[in-house]
């Protein structure tokens, strides 16, 4: 949890609201006691027309989705399954509380954009291969497509969340502070 993480790369668009943590990583894999073991099973039970995790996750580094991502079970296995697949950034309209906290606790980013901004990203970029880069100093995402489209969007991240990301997560921070 303490290594510096990357928040850049190929984008996967998941056009659905309320994607729950059972869909991100089914309960039958909760018997694993290492994070690495979760790697092959990310998003295995996601119901979404045309989505095939065995193909569509290849090379993905960033997920852009709709509202209430990560609802349901508190399992931190959901962010871990993302983390071991090198996906450290999820962008959505909003997140379920526990999932959001788990992401920052692991030094990962759960960033919220307005529904209009998310809509426009889906409209302009979801049909083709897109890459996203994160500028943590200036709080911006830049997304660009193979066909040459590019857009830069501002995002906000609270001071405390930023501190957790910088500290490498909540355990390290809490241990030094409390």
């Amino acid at each position: 949890m303490s290594q510096k993480k990357a928040f850049n790369g190929k984008v996967l668009f998941l056009d659905r609201c309320d994607i729950n943590t059972d869909e991100i990583i089914p309960a039958k894999y909760l018997t694993e006691i290492t994070k690495e073991a979760l790697k092959p099973n990310l998003l295995e039970d996601l119901i979404m027309d045309g989505f095939d995790p065995s193909k569509d996750l290849h090379g993905v580094r960033v997920i852009i989705t709709r509202s209430n991502f990560g609802c349901g079970s508190s399992r931190e296995h959901a962010p871990w399954a993302l983390e071991v697949n090198d996906i450290n950034l999820v962008i959505a309209e909003n997140f379920a509380r526990i999932f959001r906290q788990n992401m920052y606790n692991c030094g990962m980013i759960a960033a919220e954009l307005s529904s209009e901004e998310i809509d426009s990203l889906f409209k302009d970029f979801s049909g083709e291969e897109a890459e996203l880069t994160t500028d943590l100093e200036n709080n911006t995402f830049t997304i660009s497509s193979k066909s040459g489209k590019s857009r830069t969007l501002a995002f906000s991240i609270s001071g405390f969340d930023r501190t957790l990301v910088a500290a490498g997560g909540w355990v390290a921070y809490a241990d030094s502070k409390y």
Partner: protein, 428 residues
């Protein structure tokens, strides 16, 4: 400006506020089970920080897969067992004494009004029934809770739901909460506390209040909460009688955990229950709710009665009233898991177990198992289950299965007919 009960609990437990809107709170209870705790234990060991902040405030149980079903779950149990011994955790419930966490911990009197409680389990919100702030967390929050006894929360605004009217025969707390979730939506209470108040809540026993608060998370809620009252004191009395001179003095003390009349709410909802009918979910989200009447005739393969939502003695009694003297349909298998050993013993004493067995029900030991498709009644692809649990997500009880959430009475009636139906069919 007045305060809500949760704002008062936050004030009383505040350790630090590293940023506006972030509250680091002292914890009165850290509950642990074998699915989310072993990775926290292993991480603490690898960091050279294999300690606990207070072995009296940590309570642990093996409940999700019990008995172990394979080598991996056996390993999870082993890690818990060895850790509990090493750290001298007195209240550790291993097989034989174990029950579903959100049933056994309240039953042991571990939750009190005004407490802060976390657990690596989203249904920790159940314990709000006692006027506590209780929230599900991930493994990292749990790890810090175990080590330091603190947890950070964002400011939680409150939705107040005033529940009034009188419930028709055959309509239960489960029907009330499913109907409330249908109204709020699965994202309707995200980052918010749901305060359940009003005459119906006042009339509910602790079991019914736990059923309500248990499902607050299904609307995204951080916690469900009820004000402590005489019912709370009566339930807790055997555990608190040395702390108070009388029930009156306990009640007087607990009354401080109430929202002020001028408290500020994000939303206030009046919820009238007099016209409610028995309901069930359909589809893959807990806010997809229809009346049992609308779903009547839907065939099921399995019925499951149990869980932290509806596996308490009151739930078993309602199921038994429906099943008494009847047989389950040939096309259906029924699995029933009393949520704790004490509930099991009570059911035995009251003759409920005999009613269930005569009807053709498979009785199992207390465990979470089937609710999340880990053991004890997993569905095959294409199978349908009428269940008293809390989640109908795709694949929840087994890949390709469909789950219909409903009350124990409706589930029992469905077991007899083999298709979803109203319990009034089988009750006088």
């Amino acid at each position: 400006m007045g305060k809500t009960i949760v704002e008062k609990i936050f004030d009383a437990h505040l350790v630090d506020s590293p940023e506006e809107g972030v509250h680091v709170l002292n914890l009165d209870r850290v509950f642990c089970h074998e699915i989310t705790t072993p990775i926290a234990i292993n991480d603490l060991v690898s960091r050279g920080m294999d300690r606990v902040f207070d072995q009296e405030k940590i309570k642990a149980v093996i409940d999700h897969v019990s008995p172990a079903k394979d080598s991996k779950t056996a390993e999870q149990g082993k890690i818990m067992r060895e850790w509990a011994k090493r750290q001298d955790i007195k209240d550790f419930f291993d097989i034989g004494q174990n029950g579903v966490c959100h049933a056994i911990f309240p039953e042991k009197g571990f939750v009190r009004p005004g407490f802060t409680v976390i657990m690596g389990d989203s249904h920790t919100c159940t314990h709000g029934a006692f006027g506590a702030f209780a929230a599900g967390v991930g493994t990292t929050d749990l790890e810090v809770g175990i080590l330091k006894g603190v947890c950070s929360f964002l400011t939680a605004e409150t939705i107040k739901i005033n529940v009034s009217g009188s419930l028709k025969n055959g309509v239960y707390a489960k029907d009330v909460i499913l109907s409330i979730i249908a109204k709020l939506g699965v994202n309707g209470a995200t980052n918010k506390v749901i305060e359940f108040t009003g005459p119906v809540i006042n009339s509910f026993n602790m079991s019914e209040r736990m059923t309500l608060c248990n499902m607050a998370i299904e609307a995204g809620g951080t916690c469900g909460i009820c004000y402590p009252d005489q019912t709370t004191v009566d339930y807790l009395w055997e555990f608190i009688k040395d702390d108070y001179s009388s029930k009156e003095s306990a009640l007087k003390d607990y009354m401080k955990w109430q929202s002020d009349e001028d408290a500020v709410y994000a939303q206030e909802i009046d919820f009238e229950v007099s016209t409610l009918e028995p309901v069930s979910t359909f589809g893959y989200k807990p806010d997809q709710v229809k009346t049992i009447r609308e779903l009547e005739g839907t065939p099921v393969d399995q019925v499951y009665i149990g869980s932290c939502t509806n596996g308490r003695i009151e739930d078993l009694r309602e199921a038994a009233k429906v099943l008494e003297g009847k047989k389950i349909a040939d096309s259906v298998r029924v699995v029933l898991s009393p949520a704790t050993p004490a509930i099991y013993k009570m059911a035995l004493k009251e003759g409920l177990i005999e009613i269930f067995m005569d009807a053709g029900v498979c009785l199992t030991n207390p465990t979470c198992g089937a609710c999340l498709g880990m053991s004890n009644g997993v569905l095959a692809a294409g199978e349908v289950c009428a269940s008293t649990t809390n989640r109908n997500f795709n694949g929840r009880m087994g890949k390709g299965g469909m789950v219909h959430l409903m009350s124990p009475a409706s589930a029992a009636a469905t077991a007899i007919s083999g298709f979803i139906c109203n319990s009034s069919l089988y009750k006088g």
